[in-house]
C-alpha cells in the first residue's frame, strides 16, 4: 500500500496536476464564498474541462474544487452572516457573532485551521478504510448492489429537507428520467418517442448543470435587484488567532466533530450540509457552557468547520469502494471518472489503482493548498464578495451553456440543459428537494440493472434478495428508515398544528 501511495505522489507531483489543484482550490473557494454559487456548481461547470486531460489531472482539478468549495463557505458565513454553501450554515451561528465582537480574524483563522484538520482527518480515514472495504466489496453480486442502491435512494429521499412524500417523489422523478433511452440488459428503447437523440438517454452533465446551476441562478435572480450585503472589511489576523491553550482545549470537540462529519459523509444522501449542523448541536450538548453557544464562542466555529470538511473524505468512501455516490458532488466525481472510461467500484483498485491513490494524494495536497491560500489570500477572497450578483450570474449562465455543449457537442444537450434548469427551478419553488432527483437518476439504473442480473442468476426467483445476508441487512435498514421517517412526518404534522395554534394566540 505504501508503494501505491508513493506512486500516487509521483503521479500528482507533476506540473499539470499541481497547477490544476491550485486553480481548482482557488476557484472552489471563490464559488464557496459567494452566496448563491456552490461547490456543486463549480464541479459541474468544470467537469467538461477534464475531458481532454489525463484521469489524474482531471480528478486533481475536481478534488481541488470540492475541497475549496466546502471550505470557502466559511468566509461569507463569518463576514456577512450568510452561509456561502449549505455546508457552513452553522458556522454563521457563532462565526458571525464573533465577527461582530471584533474577533473576525480569530474566527476566520480558526475556521480555516479546523477546515484543514477536519479534512486531513477524513482523508486519512479514507486512505486506510477504502482498500479493505473494496476488497470486501469484491464479493458483492447483483443482489447486494441492488439492495445498496435501494437503500441509498430511500436514505436521500427520507433525510432531505422538507416533506418525506416530496423527497420520495423527487427520487421517482429522477428514476423516471433515467428510464429514457435504451433499457439495461436487453437494450429495448424506452420513451424515445421516435427521437433519435433520446435513444442515448439524457446525458448526466446537462442534467446536473441544469438542476443545480441554472435553477440556482434563477433563484438568485429573484432577489438580484436588492442585494445589500455588509462585508466586514476590518479585521486583523495574527497566525491563526488561537493560543496554544485554546487549540488544546478544542481537541475533544475537534475529534468528535470530525468523526461525525466523516460518518455522515459515508451515509448516502447526506453530506457536509447536514454534518455541520449535527456536529454543532453535539458540541453544544457536550459543552460545559451550552448557553454561550450562539453568542460567538470558538467551539461552534470549530465544530462546524471540522465536520463539513471531514464529510468530504467520508463521502468519497462509498463512491470509490462501491461506485455509489453519496451526494451531489460525488455524483459529479462519478461522472468525472466515467468520462475517462473508469467505472468506480471495488474493481477500480485492481484495474486503476494508480488513479485511486492519485485521488487520495490529490485530496491531501488540495487540503494543504486550501489552508495556504486562505491564510495568505484571505483579503483577495473577501474583495470578491463585493462583485455584484448582476454581473456574476449572466457569466455563469454562459458558462453553463459552454459546459453542456462541451462534452458531446450536441445541440440536444444544450436544450436538455434549459429543460432541466426550468424543471429544477419549478421543483425548488414547489418545495421539492433536488438532490433526490440526481441520486434517483444515477441509482435508478444501477438498481434496475442489478435487479435484472440477479433475477437472471436466480432464474426469476426473488428470494436471494432476502436471504443473502448483506442484501437482507440493507433492505432491512431501508424498511426501518422509511418507517422511522413516516413516524417523524406524523410528529412534525402534529407540531405544525400546535405551532399554528400558538401563533393564533399571539
Amino acid at each position: 500500500m505504501l508503494t501505491m501511495i508513493l506512486n500516487g505522489f509521483n503521479e500528482v507531483f507533476a506540473l499539470q496536476p499541481m497547477l490544476l489543484i491550485i486553480g481548482g482550490v482557488a476557484t472552489g473557494i471563490i464559488f464557496g464564498a459567494i452566496p448563491g454559487l456552490t461547490a456543486t456548481m463549480a464541479v459541474a461547470l468544470c467537469l467538461p474541462l477534464t475531458f481532454g486531460m489525463t484521469p489524474i489531472s482531471g480528478m486533481s482539478l475536481l478534488v481541488g474544487l470540492y475541497i475549496g468549495g466546502v471550505s470557502g463557505g466559511l468566509i461569507s458565513a463569518i463576514l456577512i452572516n450568510i452561509p456561502g454553501t449549505p455546508s457552513s450554515i452553522s458556522t454563521t451561528f457563532d462565526g458571525a457573532p464573533m465577527a461582530q465582537k471584533g474577533l473576525a480574524g480569530k474566527a476566520l483563522g480558526a475556521g480555516m485551521l479546523y477546515s484543514f484538520l477536519g479534512g486531513l482527518f477524513s482523508i486519512i480515514i479514507l486512505t486506510f478504510v477504502s482498500p479493505p472495504l473494496a476488497r470486501f466489496a469484491l464479493r458483492f453480486g447483483p443482489f447486494e448492489y441492488f439492495a445498496i442502491a435501494i437503500f441509498s435512494l430511500t436514505m436521500i429521499a427520507t433525510v432531505s429537507a422538507g416533506s418525506l412524500i416530496k423527497g420520495l417523489l423527487s427520487g421517482m422523478v429522477g428514476v423516471l428520467l433515467a428510464t429514457v433511452g435504451v433499457a439495461p440488459i436487453d437494450a429495448f428503447p424506452r420513451f424515445t418517442f421516435g427521437m433519435y437523440e433520446l435513444s442515448g438517454g439524457f446525458n448526466l452533465l446537462p442534467v446536473l448543470i441544469g438542476l443545480f446551476a441554472i435553477s440556482e441562478i434563477l433563484k438568485t435572480a429573484e432577489a438580484a435587484i436588492n442585494p445589500d450585503m455588509k462585508v466586514i472589511q476590518k479585521y486583523k489576523v495574527k497566525g491563526f488567532g488561537l493560543s496554544m491553550k485554546e487549540f488544546l482545549g478544542q481537541t475533544k470537540n475537534f475529534f468528535r466533530s470530525s468523526l461525525i462529519g466523516t460518518g455522515i459523509g459515508i451515509l448516502p444522501g447526506i453530506g457536509g450540509g447536514t454534518a455541520n449542523i449535527i456536529a454543532y448541536i453535539s458540541a453544544k450538548k457536550a459543552s460545559k457552557h451550552p448557553e454561550k453557544f450562539g453568542t460567538g464562542v470558538l467551539d461552534g466555529v470549530v465544530a462546524s468547520e471540522s465536520a463539513n470538511n471531514a464529510a468530504v473524505g467520508g463521502a468519497l468512501i462509498p463512491l470509490i469502494t462501491l461506485g455509489i455516490p453519496g451526494d451531489t458532488v460525488t455524483a459529479m466525481l462519478l461522472g468525472g471518472l466515467m468520462i475517462h472510461g473508469l467505472a468506480p467500484g471495488p474493481m477500480l483498485f485492481v484495474t486503476s489503482g494508480n488513479v485511486v491513490y492519485g485521488i487520495f494524494v490529490a485530496l491531501f495536497i488540495a487540503n494543504i493548498i486550501m489552508l495556504a491560500m486562505e491564510f495568505y489570500g484571505m483579503r483577495i477572497f473577501v474583495r470578491l464578495l463585493d462583485i455584484p450578483k448582476y454581473y456574476l450570474l449572466p457569466v455563469i449562465m454562459a458558462l453553463c451553456v459552454v459546459g453542456a455543449y462541451g462534452l458531446n457537442n450536441r445541440v440536444f444537450d444544450v436544450w436538455s440543459l434549459v429543460f432541466f434548469g426550468l424543471l429544477g427551478y419549478g421543483l425548488l419553488k414547489t418545495g421539492f428537494p433536488l438532490p433526490p432527483v440526481i441520486l434517483g437518476f444515477i441509482l435508478g439504473p444501477i438498481a434496475e440493472t442489478n435487479l435484472r442480473r440477479g433475477l437472471m442468476l436466480s432464474k426469476g426467483d426473488f428470494t436471494p434478495f432476502l436471504t443473502r445476508p448483506i442484501a437482507a441487512i440493507f433492505l432491512g435498514i431501508t424498511v426501518i428508515s422509511i418507517a422511522l421517517s413516516i413516524y417523524n412526518e406524523q410528529r412534525r404534522a402534529r407540531q405544525r398544528i400546535e405551532e399554528a395554534a400558538q401563533e393564533l394566540q399571539k
Binding site: G162, S163, R190, E222, P388, A398, Y405, T430, R496, A500
Partner: protein, 174 residues
Amino acid sequence: MLDFFRKNRDTALGLMFILLSIGVYIASFSIREMVDISVGPRFVPRLVAVVMAVLGVVLIIQNIVIRRKIAEKVGDDLAVEAVTEDPDTTPVDQIDHRAVLGTILLLILYVSLIWTFGFVLMTILYLFCQFWVLTPKDKRRWWLLILIAVLVPLGINYLFVNWFRLMLPSGMIW
C-alpha cells in the same frame, strides 16, 4: 388565481403526479418486450408510475387532512399559511418576477439563436441584455456593461478553445 393555486398547491401537485403516472403507464405499453420474462424493460417504468401515483394520492390527502385539522383550531386563513411550507427562498412578496421571467426568456432566446450567430457574438448580445435586466436602474452604466459583455466571451473562447480544447457552439455568422 395565484392565491387559489397557493392555497391548493400540494393538491394540484398531487394531481399532476397522478396524471403523469397515468401517462407513463400508458406510454409503457409501447415498450417492446420479450414475452416470457417477468421483469423486463417495462417493469421499472410501471413500478415508478404506480409508486408515483400512490405518493401523489398521499400528498393530496396529507394536504387536505392536515389543513382541515389546523383549520379546526385556528381558522382557515392561518391554516393555509401553516400548510404551505414555502421553500427556503426569497419571500413571495419580495420576488422580482420581472427579473426571473426576463432571465428565462433571455436564456431560451440565447440558446435558440446561438446556432445562427455563433458562441462569441450571441454571448455578447445575451450578456448585455441579461446585465440590463438584472442590474438596478441607478447602477446601469452602459459602457461598463458593454465592456464586460465583450471581454468575457472573448476570454472564454480563448481559454476553452486553446487551453481546454473544447468546442464551442459555432453558428452561421461566426
